[in-house]
């Protein structure tokens, strides 16, 4: 059994060193994350996407939208169609060279859903927010960068948890909210560190844990593709020479899940469908499940539903981590709250490093005097 005193010393050491190691990276994550909270607004301001407009008239069939995208990008084939409920006037059609395709590497064409005309569109990876996102999520390094970000988030989580253990003895004899102003700069900084740390603990924990989930997203998706998706498609899934129209396949998928909304459609021969199957993601129709989806596979030869499954728990956690990490699901009050919390966390991170430096300098001075 570890004594209280020993536990405190271990946690103090962990809090100091995990914090110091993570500080420079965490500062970058806080700053870039604060920008990404306003990603939609910045993109609209910089003209990366045309402003949303209500859909006027009847939407064209999905096959027509896909054909319009291919006409815009000859020598490509459609691999996906994304229907964003927030922008019902448009469809994002993913295109790739013929043959097996990886969904993440596709190019996208923005098509007006009622006229099937291409709309001006910048590849998100080439925009300012795309640049910031690549830094925040991947450190410009792809998968290794994602895992590095996850490792930093684990350090921050250890720092937060050990910080609670270190916090308790410091504040037990003080009133909540007291900052001892007349007893030197170091105590002022320490009291501010403790006060801000404890009121921001919940936000920081949530953002850190969801950050760890998101950082392992590529690995979790690969696991799902290699296990569940492969099992859903079956061992006999082969490319089909003359597949049924995507409209027929989409109607079958929608009929299997009439309560849900079809949002993401994936053509055969991609890493998110089978070689001989269309894949459809059908999202919940209510606020509490609008981010969760079911995966429906439709046989491209017959147009019949062959598999219909909810996401496994680890992918549900991954999907829900996105909004909980970026705070973009409840309008301006939440965005403002997010930025204020990020600013407070920036302060604590910097002031923690200053506290360590002040103590370190005082010790060196004492040692030099002795």
């Amino acid at each position: 059994m570890v004594s209280r005193r020993r536990l405190f010393r271990i946690c103090h050491w962990l809090h100091r060193w995990t914090g110091l190691v993570a500080t420079p990276f965490f500062l970058v994550l806080c700053l870039t994350g604060s920008v990404l909270v306003f990603r939609d607004e910045i993109d609209a301001l910089l003209g990366a996407t045309p402003p949303a407009a209500p859909a006027v008239g009847e939407a064209k069939p999905l096959a027509t939208l896909a054909a319009a995208a291919v006409a815009d990008r000859p020598a490509m084939r459609p691999i996906s169609i994304y229907l964003d409920p927030d922008t019902p006037d448009r469809a994002y059609v993913g295109v790739a060279p013929p043959g097996p395709a990886v969904l993440r590497d596709h190019a996208a064409v923005l098509i007006n859903r009622t006229s099937a005309a291409p709309m001006p569109y910048s590849d998100p990876r080439g925009t300012f927010t795309g640049f910031i996102f690549d830094l925040h999520a991947r450190w410009f390094l792809g998968l290794p960068g994602e895992l590095f970000g996850g490792a930093i988030a684990v350090l921050v989580l250890v720092c937060l948890a050990s910080g609670v253990v270190v916090y308790a003895p410091y504040v037990r004899k003080l009133l909540f909210g007291v900052v001892r102003r007349r007893r030197g700069t170091r105590l002022v900084q320490l009291d501010l560190h403790n006060l801000l740390g404890i009121v921001l603990l919940g936000w920081a924990m949530l953002v850190t844990i969801t950050g760890i989930c998101l950082a392992s997203g590529t690995l979790l998706l690969s696991t799902w593709q290699a296990t569940e998706l492969r099992a859903m498609a079956g061992p006999d899934s082969r490319p089909v020479a003359a597949p049924v129209s995507i409209d027929v396949a989409a109607a079958s998928a929608q009929a299997a899940e009439p309560e849900r909304r079809l949002r993401f459609l994936i053509y055969p021969e991609t890493d998110f469908s089978g070689p001989g199957h269309y894949g459809f993601l059908l999202y919940g129709g209510h606020r509490y499940d609008e981010r969760l989806f079911k995966v429906v596979l439709v046989d491209a030869a017959t147009g019949r539903v062959t598999a219909d499954r909810p996401l496994p728990l680890y992918l549900k956690a991954l999907v829900l981590s996105g909004p909980l990490h970026f705070g973009d699901y409840s309008g301006w009050p939440l965005k403002l709250f997010w930025v204020l919390c990020a600013a407070g966390t920036l302060f604590i991170t910097g002031n923690g490093a200053v506290l360590w430096w002040m103590r370190h300098r005082a010790r060196r001075t004492r040692a030099a005097e002795a």
Partner: protein, 53 residues
């Protein structure tokens, strides 16, 4: 509050996390209420700081 620091840390963090998760699952009108719940620890901390300054 500081007399029971672990309990108060759990309550403050729980209010924030509960408020943020609540704001995500309820209808948009009610979500502002949950954002306020999430912000309550920060408001309480600011109020105590200003009072005891």
């Amino acid at each position: 509050m500081n007399r029971h620091p672990y309990l108060s840390a759990c309550l403050l963090a729980g209010a924030t996390i509960g408020g943020l998760v609540g704001a995500m699952v309820v209808a948009e009108g009610a979500s502002t209420f949950f954002v306020l719940v999430a912000a309550a620890p920060a408001v309480l901390g600011s109020a105590c700081y200003l009072r005891r300054r």
